[in-house]
């Protein structure tokens, strides 16, 4: 398995899952990401990433209740694990550190 590093897109997906809380299933994640990033996010990509995140242990999944929509097929809902949370926090910390190292001058005039 590749290291436990979080890729950029993986981080986005993980964040979305955390944000959506109980409602995080593939299509919802897709829609949410599309909305926030402004680029079209393909289901196939999201699906693969979700699968990988689960393998890495950052998310857990479980099937929901059957409903009348989507041909009666159940949805697979994802929830973030504590490991996932820790990774997110770590990623954020690293960024913050880096951000704090940037002198104000750099962004002046933007």
């Amino acid at each position: 398995m590749k290291g436990t590093n979080l890729g950029e897109f993986e981080e986005l997906v993980l964040l979305t899952i955390a944000a959506l809380m109980e409602e995080a299933y593939s299509v919802a994640v897709c829609d949410e990401l599309t909305k926030h990033t402004g680029r079209e996010v393909k289901l196939g990509v999201v699906h693969a990433v979700l699968n990988r995140l689960e393998e890495k242990g950052y998310v857990k999944s479980g099937l929901g209740e059957a409903t009348n929509v989507r041909g009666g097929r159940r949805k697979r809902f994802y929830t973030i694990t504590s490991g996932g949370k820790a990774t997110l926090l770590k990623a954020r910390e690293q960024r913050d550190q880096l951000w704090s190292m940037i002198p104000d001058v750099v962004f002046k005039g933007i």
Binding site: H47, A48, G71, R73, R74
Partner: protein, 882 residues
């Protein structure tokens, strides 16, 4: 009611196969929600962009999700389960077959008969398509042929071309990898020491052995055909001439004139080669000989295109269209010389020679592509007919198996499993049939097919190769699937609760129309074949007994084979049974023609005429009727041709008027002036497929090839022996070749006889299969209706009424078949197959309905025997058991 339940309300659904595919490859743990996601998207897309777009996206998505992490690993357990089931299916199939011996026999026999034809078709196709494939450069060899058009006449295609064409290609078209020019007519009597044999082969350029992959046993491929007067023999010929001696380097003498050096020995050319020659001489020999003859135009004339063949090996990257364009360019230039004819070169890939188009002047055996198609279609039709039997009987008898299917479904079999089971059952039966079919093929069909005509047995062996066996197996599987498809579909759709709750509610007879259509199809086919065979026979009979306008009986045509006419005549005149003799150029009315051009007064108005060169005895012997003038008067051989006898059509062509007026008129034939001395009543010098045209008898002592001997003998074989021994004294080299005129005519119409045999055989098969099927259906119907019959009988129905009741449905089907088959077959043969014939037999009631009556008779026997039996059963026996 049961029908409606099958139709679900119309909703927008993604393509079912895509979903199945997803289900098939996807890990079960991922499948459900993934499928749900896709459906959700599908729903959105339908709303946003329409159904078609949504379906397309769905398919793309399904394909895109085929990834490492979604695909399930092959499951061993599942396979095991299938395997166990498979053996169970097999067991049930065998049991069910054993339980219904009659139906199994009908199925197996029917399938075996038709599959044997299928085997023949496969073996035949593999043989035909193996032609010439042994050449290493097979894919790159092209033949240059000519199309020939005289004035405004129809264009005809030739396999041959001119030597001039070869010279032009060599000088004008660069970049052709290899090329070989072949000329026919290397023939004569080859002598070595005291041995003399007749040989016939080809002249070919040195590249012959590198263009083609004919193997040399001895000699160097590059040089064997280089020097003039060198010759390569095949092993058989070498053996004949030299026994076990090494022939290379020896000299053989041809026709007591030229000496040839044997430079090599090649393997006998294989049977599946369209080029066949026991001897090949160097082309340079031919060139030298032609150059010696100053009048000859063979080497240089563009329109001398009758006996030469060009084969090119193109480079792998060669642009064939550009090559054709260069050929067109050359043709256009050459055509300017002669305004009467247009000759164009065309390229024919090696793979399109056999099977290929029907060309004139073929160099070797040929087989029309059209015939390949016809044979394939016929075999397929017979095969399908037998499959219908299986389909029909299985569906009709589905009642007996439906409980089994119901139980299977309850236990957990899906529709697909049941479908598979019944397909497997059909394949088992067709596999069993294959065994019988193979025996039938080897013992009966193959030898009979090869025996149809000599041409066929020379071209193909029909011996299956390992690959062919694989095709045979494939045929069995395909047949099984074809036959089992509809029953399997039917069983897989059976609804469980209906079968188990109340079998009789099963909508068994919903398929009645379907089955009726199948029966009608089978009978239409049978009738069409039998009517076709009768019509072809009638046409053959008509052709053979056609009144040609002259006598042919008791005339024995003896080939001179290069011997002197007078010598042979003198020798034969010693035999008392030969009462009279004449000499001629050819035997007419059997499809050979000699032609030349003739002119009357107008030097610009020339016409093609057919002729036969004859002596003064020919006309009396053949009983030809002279309507004006006289017969030829004997002339010494050396004097120039001066007299001619023409037919009425020729007079009409030149507007000469009444036959009497024509006597003494002068025609220009072959640029020589000849006087018309007689007019012969129009007679059929050609085969009956062509109308009578302009014809002349010429007095040509230098063109006698046949002796026509009038025989009067009560012991024909004895006389023949006498003549033959006389011949052997005269000519030790060439075996005696003679044939009675009537036999020769019969032989020339052999194609019809072959047609009769093939169609007749197919008719026999189709009728057997259809009758078997019908028998099965009748047995089934009477069995299921036995109770009804018994009750009717108890209530007072007479036996005749019952037979009529049971049989009328079938009779009706037969009538429909006849109503379709008779006009369709009549139209097909009269308007399409025999359309080109100038003289057609008229087809009466007997030809059209004779076969129908026979088929009806057989069918009536099948229906009658069963219905009568059912009607005669004692009602007490059937009803008591309840």
């Amino acid at each position: 009611m049961s029908k409606r339940s099958h139709i679900s309300p119309r909703i927008d659904r993604p393509p079912r196969w895509a979903t199945r595919f997803l289900e098939w490859y996807c890990k079960p743990s991922l499948y459900e929600d993934l499928q749900g996601d896709l459906l959700e998207y599908f729903g959105r897309n339908v709303a946003a962009k329409g159904l078609t777009y949504a379906r397309l996206i769905y398919i793309i998505d399904v394909l895109k999700f085929f990834r490492l992490y979604t695909v399930q690993k092959p499951q061993i357990f599942k396979g095991m389960n299938q395997f166990i089931l498979l053996s169970n299916y097999f067991k049930t199939s065998v049991r069910s077959m054993a339980r219904n011996k009659l139906f199994s026999t009908i199925n197996v026999v029917g399938l075996a008969i038709s599959m044997s034809v299928g085997l023949l078709m496969i073996a035949f196709l593999t043989d035909i398509y193996s032609f010439d494939t042994f050449h290493e450069k097979y894919d790159r060899i092209y033949r240059v042929g000519n199309t020939y058009q005289r004035l405004e006449e129809d264009e005809s295609k030739f396999a041959s071309t001119s030597i001039q064409a070869a010279s032009r290609i060599k000088s004008d078209i660069p970049g052709i990898e290899e090329m070989v020019l072949i000329t026919r007519n290397f023939r004569g009597d080859a002598a070595y020491n005291n041995k003399i044999i007749a040989i016939e082969g080809l002249y070919a350029e040195p590249s012959f052995f590198s263009v083609f992959s004919f193997k040399l046993k001895q000699g160097d491929a590059a040089t064997v055909l280089k020097e003039p007067y060198s010759v390569v023999l095949d092993e058989t010929t070498a053996k004949k001439l030299f026994d076990d001696k090494d022939p290379v380097g020896e000299l053989i003498k041809l026709n007591d004139k030229d000496s040839y050096t044997v430079t090599g020995v090649m393997e006998d050319m294989p049977g599946n080669s369209h080029l066949r020659a026991p001897v090949v001489a160097s082309y340079s020999t031919y060139e030298i000989k032609e150059k010696e003859n100053e009048e000859s135009t063979r080497l240089t004339r563009w329109n001398n295109m009758w006996s030469n063949y060009i084969y090119l090996v193109v480079r792998p990257d060669q642009d064939i269209e550009a090559l054709q364009a260069s050929l067109n360019q050359i043709s256009a230039e050459e055509n300017e010389v002669d305004e009467h004819t247009t000759i164009n070169m065309w390229l024919q890939p090696m793979s399109a020679i056999v099977p290929g188009e029907d060309l004139s002047n073929q160099i070797g055996p040929s087989f029309e592509l059209k015939m390949v198609w016809i044979i394939t279609v016929l075999a397929f039709v017979v095969l399908v007919s037998a499959c219908f039997n299986y389909t029909n009987l299985s569906i009709a008898r589905s009642l007996r198996r439906s409980k089994e299917v119901g139980i299977r479904k309850v236990i957990g079999a899906s529709g697909g499993d049941v479908f598979g089971q019944f397909i497997l059952e059909a394949v088992v039966i067709s596999g069993l049939s294959l065994v019988f079919a193979f025996i039938l093929y080897y013992t009966a069909i193959r030898p009979r097919f090869l025996g149809l005509s000599e041409e066929i047995s020379e071209m193909i062996t029909l011996i299956p190769s390992p690959l062919t066996f694989l095709y045979f197996l494939l045929l069995a599987v395909v047949t099984g699937v074809l036959a089992g498809f509809f029953p399997a579909l039917f069983f897989s759709r059976i609804s469980v609760h209906k079968v188990l709750k109340n079998v009789s509610s099963l909508k068994l007879f919903g398929n009645v129309t379907f089955r009726k259509v199948l029966i009608v199809f089978q009978y239409t086919l049978s009738l069409a074949f039998i009517i076709g065979a009768t019509m072809a026979y009638k046409q053959y009979d008509f052709a053979v007994n056609f009144d040609l306008g002259y006598k042919t009986d008791n005339i024995l045509n003896i080939d001179l084979l290069g011997n002197d006419v007078e010598k042979v005549k003198t020798a034969l005149s010693e035999i008392p049974e030969i009462t009279d003799m004449s000499a001629s150029t050819l035997v007419t009315s059997v499809g050979s023609y000699w032609g030349t051009t003739a002119k009357y007064k107008d030097p610009l108005d020339s016409t093609n005429i057919n002729y036969n060169g004859i002596d003064e005895n020919y006309i009396p012997i053949h009983g030809l009727e002279l309507i004006a003038g006289r017969n030829f008067i004997s002339q010494s051989d050396s004097s120039a041709e001066s007299q001619i006898i023409v037919n009425e059509k020729l007079l009409k062509r030149f507007n000469i008027g009444e036959p009497l007026d024509a006597i003494g008129e002068t025609l220009k034939v072959d640029d020589k002036d000849v006087k018309i001395v007689g007019v012969v009543k129009d007679f059929h010098y050609g085969k009956i497929d062509s109308p009578i045209k302009e014809f002349a008898y010429r007095y040509k002592a230098d063109q006698y090839y046949v002796i026509n001997a009038l025989i009067s003998s009560s012991d024909i074989p004895g006389t023949m022996e006498k003549i033959e021994s006389k011949w052997d004294e005269l000519d030790a080299i060439h075996p005696f070749e003679a044939e009675f005129y009537d036999d020769r005519i019969q032989k020339s119409y052999e194609e019809y006889l072959v047609m009769v045999k093939i169609i007749g055989f197919l008719a026999f098969l189709a009728i057997s299969i259809a009758s078997l099927g019908l028998l099965g259906m009748v047995v089934f119907t009477t069995e299921t209706r036995l109770k009804e019959i018994s009750i009717r009988k108890v209530l007072g129905a007479s036996e005749q009424a019952l037979v009529f009741l049971l049989g009328r449905g079938f009779i009706f089907l037969l009538l429909i078949s006849a109503a379709i088959a008779v006009p369709a077959t009549w139209y097909f043969f009269n308007q399409i197959v025999f359309n080109d014939l100038a003289y057609k037999a008229t087809f009466g009631f007997l030809e059209l309905f004779g076969g129908v009556l026979v088929v009806f008779g057989i069918a009536a026997l099948a229906v009658g025997s069963q219905t009568v039996r059912a009607a005669r059963t004692n009602p007490a026996e059937t009803l008591r058991n309840e």
